[in-house]
Symmetry: C2
Subunit: 316 residues, 2 copies
Amino acid sequence: MARILITGAHGFIGRYLARHLSENGHVVCGLGHGIWPPLHAERWGLTLWHNGEIDGLNLRLIQRKSGTPDIVYHLGGGSSVGVAIANPREDFHRTVNSTAELLEWLRLEAPDCRLVAISSAAVYGANHEGPIAETTITKPFSPYGHHKSIMESLCQSYCDTYGLKIAIARLFSVYGEGLRKQLLWDVCSQLERNPDRLGLGGEGTELRDWIEVGDVARALSLIEAQANQSRTVVNVGTGTGTSVRSIVEMVVDAWFEREAYRPNIIFSGEARKGDPQSLVADSTRLKALGFDLRSDLKDRLSAYVGWFQSEAGTAR
Amino acid sequence: MARILITGAHGFIGRYLARHLSENGHVVCGLGHGIWPPLHAERWGLTLWHNGEIDGLNLRLIQRKSGTPDIVYHLGGGSSVGVAIANPREDFHRTVNSTAELLEWLRLEAPDCRLVAISSAAVYGANHEGPIAETTITKPFSPYGHHKSIMESLCQSYCDTYGLKIAIARLFSVYGEGLRKQLLWDVCSQLERNPDRLGLGGEGTELRDWIEVGDVARALSLIEAQANQSRTVVNVGTGTGTSVRSIVEMVVDAWFEREAYRPNIIFSGEARKGDPQSLVADSTRLKALGFDLRSDLKDRLSAYVGWFQSEAGTAR
């Protein structure tokens, strides 16, 4: 049994991680933004949820109430490339300043606690072909990617100088029931409004490494043991790239089920800002930690569509 | 005539830069921390000094009073490796948050203004031999170096995504009259207290690229024209390394002038934290901009000693 703190636990990935960890017998607290009735937080596996800024004072407050954690998963931070482009200051604050506060609190108040910092494949930037290894030189090209990369640098600084024990998890394209943004949400929302026509940015050929949120939760709990003073980095992806067009077609198939009807799918052909052509993980390291992929992409996309329709009240 | 804003103008380098620019006919304002009587600020070439945090509100305030600048020199930020190790949060705030605020203000309120961001040779880290080119992969190993490197990443992010025009100046070992810290100050302070014995950290063999603050001011004003949307980086150094021991001996020679007497100089042999063995600039780029080195190291060290003695009232 470990004492665990999750920042950003109220977010899409955070709550799945909280549930996974509590189901494995750990005591889980959470800090971050979001109004979360205690009963709901409890159902997701949290013994305490503190709605507030990730800063030294709030971290200290949770520590007084619940004791010093053995592990922190830092999921708090900006979560959208587009939002970060529109308001880089806010994304910087959420991603970088929260990390600066967290690291300083660890240094001063919890130096033995291990940290898993959640980064993103966006740190790799564009111009990659095939699986990207963790040793690849990072070259972000969106503010979101830059801020995640800066977060990693700060972690490295605190490893180097103060001996904090840190692992960095670089997440690829995480999806699953409860995700209310990005491609899947967009496709379902469009189909809900107009089942005849789907209009999407990009070319449809963009490759992404889709990994289901339940698999991500298990991956993160494996990576935790790798936290050390030289900052281990682990990609969280399946190792397989799937084109946006394929994903869209699978969602459409699930949406219409056995109907013969299919909408017109139109890609604008214009790359979205900050959107690289290919982001696929070299997942050798993750697999070496004993990770086994459990979810089937087609099945889980179908489950997503089911969740969306039930959520939207359009289930048939 | 250009309208110029200098952040950190009250600091050691800032005031020399302000004087140099105002002597060349420019209108210079300043923002940063420090109580500076208007008459004194004026003597250093400033038409306006605003004592305050480098943030959006203060930048906007200066803009309203003095108009939108054509050029910003961003010298504000932490200025000591040792202080940054002792209090990384403060150094992070000074160096990184000030830059985040400045870039955001430029993006929203002054997108045509050129920025010269003052970075440091500390971004290169340790394990270098011979002159370091700007294209070398940076690998800081102190919080101070990490924060300067993060500052550079933020600048790159704003170039890439918002087209800001930026040049990065990586300063090597800047010295000159008025510098109240680091090796020269330490040696003079020790000699003042006890002329018999000088005790210093490190081995004395550490190589640094010493450049006089007047030369730095001229270098920075040359680099300004290089500010562009792909972020030009220029080393500010002479290209020549001088050992710490040689520097100390020159200071001692100047201190005792024609006396035959010399103190016992003892190096601890233990490297100071965050202190690489060799930091010498490849100054090809700077020279290609037309930079000519004007100051002689020995002469200027002698002038420093004279300034220290007159400052301390020990001039003989």
